[in-house]
């Protein structure tokens, strides 16, 4: 259960990227890989606590879950149906080369445009 630490990291990373004074943040989108060790429901719960009394207090959290993708030497990138069977779903070869599914990243933030300064646009560039 380290979702609360992760939720605090999400909030502080976004807050640090905001210009001063911070614009109103309407939402943030986070990608969570199935191999990241983060449980989306637990992160949602922890986020509500972590966002309190910050510029993100009213910002809705949207979590996109990304599946495990391996790079099979014979068949190329293949999406796995589970996190505990690292065999190519096409040819059955065991394969540990993971090219997707470990993500834990903030994709974007949605700001109230009426109070966005140009600083924020530069931050995103």
């Amino acid at each position: 259960m380290h979702e609360l630490s992760v939720a605090h990291a999400v909030v502080s990373t976004v807050v640090d990227a905001l210009p001063s004074p911070p614009p109103r943040v309407l939402g943030i989108r986070v990608r969570v890989g199935e191999l990241s060790g983060i449980v989306p429901r637990a992160l949602e719960f922890a986020y509500d606590v972590a966002a309190q009394d910050t510029p993100l207090a009213d910002a809705a959290l949207v979590i996109e879950v990304s599946p495990v993708v391996i790079d099979c030497p014979a068949c190329g990138p293949q999406q796995l149906a589970s996190t505990h069977d690292f065999r190519c779903p096409v040819c059955g070869t065991p394969c540990g080369a993971v090219i997707g599914g470990k993500e834990l990243e903030i994709l974007d933030v949605t700001l109230d445009d009426t109070c966005v300064s140009e600083d924020m646009v530069e931050v995103s560039a």
């Binding site: 259960m1 990373t13 986070v30 505990h84 540990g96 994709l107 974007d108 933030v109 700001l111």
Partner: protein, 224 residues
């Protein structure tokens, strides 16, 4: 009101990852091999480490250890009997170690004098898998008393590990340990893992493990 979407593309654990990258560079510069040991509580990490450190001293390999626990310095006291330098990291309830804790607890140690540094993480099979500590090798430990299917139940950890150590093999017969099933479970989540079978009671596998951890491994998985 209009909304504007601003792309951020930042890793959530970027701060930890940056600190870990700094540690990794520091370890490489000092030419010390670093391993991060992760398992559930009671797997026998400390008993195995006790023996490994004592063996290292016997063989002239200069080893040190950082041990993480939620409370007490019991483990550090146990391990210090080996004669190797040991420091306890008390997390005060936190369920995993983070890179900044490693940096803090290394101060005053001459890394260049070391061949091997073992970081014993807090007993937990879930959270430590998300935090890079700058290690060369991540070691997941599994005791024969825990059940053969642990690796498939906790795939994130076993997948992210380079080495899987089986502990307490002296108890294998008593608990009807199904070795083939366990090795298949490891292979299912991590086909590239190196498996070492050990017993802190008999000393089986200790030298193999020491060799593996104190020499540079040619294949290393990317940090998560």
């Amino acid at each position: 009101m209009t909304a504007r979407i601003v792309e951020l593309r930042k890793g959530v654990l970027e701060k930890n990852d940056l600190l870990a990258a700094g540690l990794r560079a520091q370890f490489a510069d000092a030419d010390v091999r670093v391993s991060n040991w992760v398992s559930s509580p009671g797997t026998g990490k400390t008993a195995l480490l006790e023996l490994l450190l004592a063996r290292a001293v016997e063989r002239g390999i200069v080893a040190a250890a950082l041990v993480g626990d939620c409370a007490t310095d019991n483990d550090a006291q146990r391990l210090a009997r080996s004669g190797a330098p040991v420091r306890q990291i008390v997390t005060e309830g936190m369920c995993h170690l983070e890179a900044d804790m490693i940096g803090e607890h290394l101060s005053g140690w001459d890394l260049r004098a070391l061949d091997l540094l073992v970081i014993e993480n807090v007993g937990n099979l879930v959270c430590p898998s998300s935090y890079d500590l700058g290690e060369d090798v991540r070691v997941a430990l599994l005791s024969v008393t825990e059940g053969e299917d642990k690796p498939v139940k906790y795939p994130q950890l076993f997948h992210s590990s380079d080495v899987v150590v089986v502990t307490k093999t002296d108890l294998a017969a008593a608990v009807e340990w199904d070795r083939d099933a366990a090795l298949a479970a490891v292979a299912a989540v991590n086909p590239d893992a190196t498996v070492v079978e050990t017993s802190a009671r008999t000393g089986a596998g200790i030298d193999d493990l020491l060799d593996l951890l104190s020499t540079r491994t040619p294949h290393l998985q990317e940090a998560p």
